[in-house]
Symmetry: C2
Subunit: 223 residues, 2 copies
DNA sequence: TCAAAAGTGTTGCAAATACACCCATGT
DNA sequence: ACATGGGTGTATTTGCAACACTTTTGA
């Protein structure tokens, strides 16, 4: 095969990291510092290095650029051919992950200006590269996937209330669910089990805390 | 970025082309002619060329190696890191397609020994590269996908009987369906519409011919 | 007349939906 | 005392699964 051809192809990974906060779906973005995308926001991503697996590169890059680590990254789709990068041809393998919002301290390197979560509905209109397309694709896939797997668990901390769980579903699905039917469903599926109580916070009746029966990926007909 | 690193990565596409024949799910394979995989069977695939999109490369390679053209190819997954190819690092973007069995004349080039459909359950135990893994992955995805989209249409010719349609579903899902319930379902979903009659062939009562309402990809809760 | 596939309805059960009020706590 | 979210049950509807016989044709 022609080496000149092959030298032009580079492989990148880009991560769509979602969290639910306060009834909104948010996505983790970094702010670029180099032309031609100086000041633009982007998904955390970059080129793979020698000897690295795609999965490994995704994890490394995510941690370097945002400080987020130890998350379950799932491959989403491979994007190309949209004159992606002004600097020659790049193929980008996109990854998705869901993480709990609580207590993440985000930190980036001096190669970037900032890192923060953005409300998915209020993301800057121009993202760097084709990251807008990737984000839209990821969000659709997430909404589909949450309906037939137990993957919500990745959005929640170890212990949570049923209202928080319902809120996570409502946020991702972008529709309201009936409280009684919701509770009946998740309990009958044995998705979660109760532990102690919760009084902290709210000026209202304390809620029972639950945890997941399993944090392994499983196929479950949720809705 | 380090050029020595990047020169090591090459990008290939591999196609999983399925058809239903005679109640069996079959997959299109080619027989290799070069070491280290001489005589081994493989999915039709190869390296992408300059200026090609991934989708374009998949279509070109499929036609060159098997003569099959004008099919809807859908990206499946990107595989890597399994010391894939003895000849340096290769990342492979896998594509899936469903085609009608009827009247395809397969032809390959002199770079390969043969091209033919294989019963998925009787594929040679060793396929070239990691193609066994890709095939298994594709088959699972196909079974899942056929349940929530109208994608079966790609397996059938323009006009077909309801029994043929049912047979396609049963083959892909690998389980039997109730005839009356099946007909009720597909008719109530307005997936298909009747046309004329069919007497040809069988020594039995002729069956009504149907065609699809839509051959565009749609989300439909089939089962 | 026989073989082989086409065609056709009803019933029971399970799951989804719709719906409204009292409870416990903090301020 | 009041505001806030926590917690609970029933009735209706809908969709799914199970099931067997008659029809039409070619050989």
């Amino acid at each position: 095969m022609n080496n000149i051809v092959m030298n032009n192809v580079r492989v990148a990974v880009d991560n769509c990291i979602f969290a639910v906060r306060d009834g909104r779906l948010e996505v983790l973005l970094i702010q670029m510092k180099k032309e031609p995308f100086d000041f633009a926001w982007a998904l955390p991503g970059g080129l793979i290095e020698a000897g690295e697996t795609l999965d490994g590169a995704a994890a490394r890059i995510l941690e370097q650029q945002t400080g987020v680590r130890d998350v379950y990254l799932e491959q989403l789709y491979t994007f190309d051919d949209r004159s992606r990068d002004p600097d020659g041809r790049v193929i980008s393998v996109a990854y998705v992950s869901l993480i709990p919002w609580e207590g993440r301290d985000l930190k980036t390197t001096d190669k970037y200006r900032a890192v923060q979560f953005w409300d998915c509905d209020r993301v800057p209109s121009k993202l760097a590269y084709d990251h807008r397309e990737i984000l839209d694709y990821a969000r659709n896939r997430l909404a589909a996937k949450i309906q037939y797997t137990n993957c919500v668990w990745s959005l929640l901390p170890e212990r949570f209330t049923l209202s928080e769980l319902q809120n996570a579903y409502e946020t991702v699905l972008n529709r309201n669910l009936d409280k009684r039917n919701f509770r009946k469903k998740v309990l009958s599926l044995h998705l979660v089990k109760p532990c102690g109580e919760k009084s902290s916070g709210g000026r209202h009746r304390p809620a029972m805390l639950y945890s997941f029966e399993s944090r392994e990926p499983e196929l479950v007909e949720v809705f």
